[in-house]
């Protein structure tokens, strides 16, 4: 038992540093994913045919290939065409664009589940199509997409662990370094697992709180 406490004392500072990096990558990727995913999701539903096809291809590309390959392409592949990214930049870009594809899909299905009558009523009031999308359809769709978006946020927190493969010192990257330093991989990976689960738990609580805050009677997905 003393061994474990001793080890914890030694590795915690580094793991906390890794936690900061993990949270940073998660936050940036989710934000970038939102900024890109929102127009992609809207364009997938309301854009003209050619826009829908291009965005569909983008989503298929990022959903249909392993995240790790996307990361390697961004970090090792892009320099071949003259674009050199730092480790963190490559991580942000890959995870952000990957998340955008998923977020766009969640938003798309939410947009499609808003009843058609909402658009018709908005147009009948004299709103333009885009005004109706922005003021009437999106506020409803975003609320409907929130539960799946929460899952995406939690998944992202764990997906970020792939970045240790391009030597980003996130939580997982620290685990790898520490486990070879102290020759105690099992113990250290277990400690890191606990770190992740605590992060996920906190994130879950925050998101549930937000969901409750923005809930509107009669506007929920699923059976409630």
């Amino acid at each position: 038992m003393n061994d474990v406490i001793d080890l914890l004392r030694k590795v915690t500072p580094d793991l906390l540093q890794g936690t900061v990096v993990t949270l940073q990558i998660t936050a940036v990727s989710l934000t970038l994913g939102m900024i890109v995913g929102l127009p992609v999701g809207v364009g997938r539903v309301y854009g003209p045919g050619w826009v829908r096809r291009i965005l569909g291809a983008y989503v298929t590309l990022f959903q249909g290939t392993p995240l790790l390959i996307q990361l390697f392409m961004a970090y090792y592949g892009l320099p071949d065409i003259g674009i050199t990214l730092g480790r963190l930049q490559a991580a942000f870009l890959t995870l952000g664009l990957n998340s955008a594809a998923y977020q766009a899909e969640y938003l798309r299905s939410a947009l499609q589940s808003v009843s058609e009558g909402q658009m018709i009523a908005a147009r009948a009031l004299g709103m333009s199509k885009w005004q109706a999308i922005w003021s009437i359809i999106l506020p409803q769709a975003v609320r409907l997409a929130l539960p799946s978006w929460s899952n995406e946020a939690i998944a992202m927190l764990k997906y970020t662990s792939v970045v240790f493969l391009i030597a980003v010192p996130d939580l997982m990257g620290q685990a790898k370094i520490l486990s070879s330093r102290y020759f105690a991989p099992i113990q250290i990976y277990l400690i890191v697992a606990v770190f992740y689960i605590v992060l996920v738990g906190i994130t879950y609580l925050i998101l549930t709180w937000i969901e409750r805050r923005v809930r509107i009677p009669g506007l929920t997905s699923g059976t409630e």
């Binding site: 018709i120 009523a121 009948a124 004299g126 709103m127 009437i136 509107i216 009677p217």
Partner: protein, 250 residues
Amino acid sequence: MTAPILRIEDVHKSYGNLQVLKGVSLTVQPQEVVVLVGPSGSGKSTLLRCINLLSPPTKGRIWLEDQDITAPGVNQDRVRQRIGMVFQEFNLFTHLTALGNVMIGLTKVRKMRKNEARDLAMFELERVGLADRAHYYPAQLSGGQKQRVAIARALSMDPHIMLFDEPTSALDPELTGEVLAVMQKLASEGMTMIVVSHEIGFARQVADRVVFMEGGVVVEEGPPQCMFKQAIHERTRAFLRTIEYMRHAP
């Protein structure tokens, strides 16, 4: 005779091979209340959607006041601001309170300031007797209340004409009265209205004219007392008998 507020001339509407309207002509005078009746599939609702350009006619022309709204290059959003529409399924905006529903057209379309819009929206809610429900969400309102909010929402845009697409058909029978009362009040205030409805009592009391449609054309039209007593066409008589019977049926 004053200039008509709405003039529909030989309007056709097809969806692919399906011809729904086959040449409808109709003229509506200011402050007139026209009740459209006819069997389902006769094209009544489609005609309303043509009038406010939600699905523009494939052929024919429609004049709203002095403007040919079917002419190419017409700003359809502008036209719709002058035409209020009330739907069978209410279509209230789910994420907004009753007040929010009535305000949003004012702030987003008429670009009114929030305070101003709120006051006007409250006034419209009072008109339909729902000021005390201003902060309820649609899911917290009864069907009749929802429809009255929908009427207030349409009225907020200060429309020149109101279209009602079976406004009471989705309501439980005991809730239709409150909606019809609001509509009757509107009519008495001089609102021009086209109402698709099978409410015979409403048609008798409020309508200036009853128009019978079948198979995408206007079969017959006239003042309610004539139409209900001595319609010329056997089809009209048969249909009116049926809805009258339905009304008295348990």
